[in-house]
Symmetry: C2
Subunit: 226 residues, 2 copies
DNA sequence: TTCATGGTTCGATGATAAGCGAAGTATTGT
DNA sequence: ACAATACTTCGCTTATCATCGAACCATGAA
């Protein structure tokens, strides 16, 4: 209770890439589970757990236990404002990052975020779906259009089981690797498993990387043009 | 030019104790030389140099070369505001620091800051001088009272050479180890050398630590009571 | 010129902490 | 009861980066 400047502590807390990714993901205002945040940051749950408890102890995060889930959210508006301020400042100065984010650059290209596709490909898919008007931004989350439903049925997504779930069908999720949104929710989940089933891609063992094979990648790019 | 969240970079920049100390020292608005900042942070000039160039490259600091000195100041008001915001936030949350500041805990007790006494003892001296009305806070810096002048002459400080110098006589200097001010300026300098001459203390080789011997410390505490 | 001072660059060392695997604790579902 | 899921704790490895010593450059003083 006696010591150097506390802004150093605060800065170092935000200064870690993994933590910063989680924080920016939480800037949406939603509460996310520990595993979701781990996915968002591209790290394993254990590591995420350590980060999260640190941030909670520091008063940056607020924890709500619910069943076997632990939902984390920004502690209060002050945290959000501070993060916004820092982002604004960084943007103004046009900081070119040098430090490497989490591990693998392949993670930036395509990875799982919890249970759906994230990374460059995830963002591309989202952009494509929005551009073709298959999805529309709505007040709370995302909406599925008629054309969209047709498109996904053509793609052999089975909507029946999805609609029974309590989880929202479409949800947008901020991507740490390029600060844009990709598709989450049960639809995002279903699409990813469909990619697996089609043999386009598969999970790399012990990693969040989603490895597309050459023809899978080609097909993907054709299916979701920019 | 493609990467993770820039707030991580910014945070890590501010997150280092040494850099944070320099930044808070610069919050006074004054421009300080590289060596002064090194003293302020309790690190060697080489290390400070590395930190300073990093911060300048990141757009946090502004550099003005003048003769063989390099004066650093906060780049603009935005930097100041951001630091203020972070300090306010940290204060509100009452962060208790865990990370150790620069090296040695003895540094926190008494060390040289450029050419004058800093650390707990430096702050104590300043407090004492203010309480006894030997120094007074003025609009720009510190003022020496009549009583003060008498006191220092009693203490055998020779004012003649000091008044010829271009450097200000009294100057307050923010102390990183406890966020309070100590006495800088040529008077601060003169006092420190007087302590050496009196045999109260001496510099530890290759360190910024000012080691008081037992009787020197006792005399010091008596001379500058709280 | 020579010396001193303010700063920087380089190389090596060391401490801190991020990350993961493996094993453990809860809680929910069947 | 059993199994599966969500998350944590522990121990270890690895990388990063702050720090310092030593040597080097530049400016100013004698």
């Amino acid at each position: 209770m006696k010591e150097g400047p506390d802004i150093a502590f605060l800065g170092s807390l935000i200064g870690d890439p993994a933590r910063a990714n989680m924080l920016t993901a939480l800037l949406s205002g939603k509460a996310l589970t520990a595993s979701e945040l781990a996915g968002e940051a591209g790290i394993t749950p254990q590591t995420a757990s350590a980060h999260l408890s640190k941030m909670e102890a520091a008063g940056l995060l607020q924890l709500r236990k619910q069943g076997r889930h632990r939902y984390f959210a920004l502690a209060d508006d002050d945290v959000g404002s501070l993060l916004e301020a820092m982002m604004g400042f960084a943007a103004k100065k046009g900081h070119l990052r040098t430090r490497t984010g989490p591990k693998d650059p392949a993670l930036r290209y395509s990875r799982v975020c919890y249970n759906h596709l994230a990374g460059d490909l995830g963002v591309r898919m989202m952009d494509s779906l929005l551009a073709k008007n298959f999805l529309t931004p709505e007040t709370e989350g995302l909406g599925l259009t008629g054309d969209g439903k047709a498109f996904f049925e053509e793609f052999e997504i089975d909507f029946e089981p999805l609609e029974k779930l309590r989880r929202p069908l479409c949800k947008s999720c901020l991507d740490w690797s390029n600060r844009r949104s990709h598709l989450a929710g049960s639809l995002g989940n279903a699409l990813l498993t469909r990619f697996y089933d089609l043999g386009w891609a598969k999970r790399v063992e012990n990693s969040r990387i989603v490895a597309f094979n050459p023809k899978g990648e080609k097909a993907f790019l054709k299916t979701f043009p920019v």
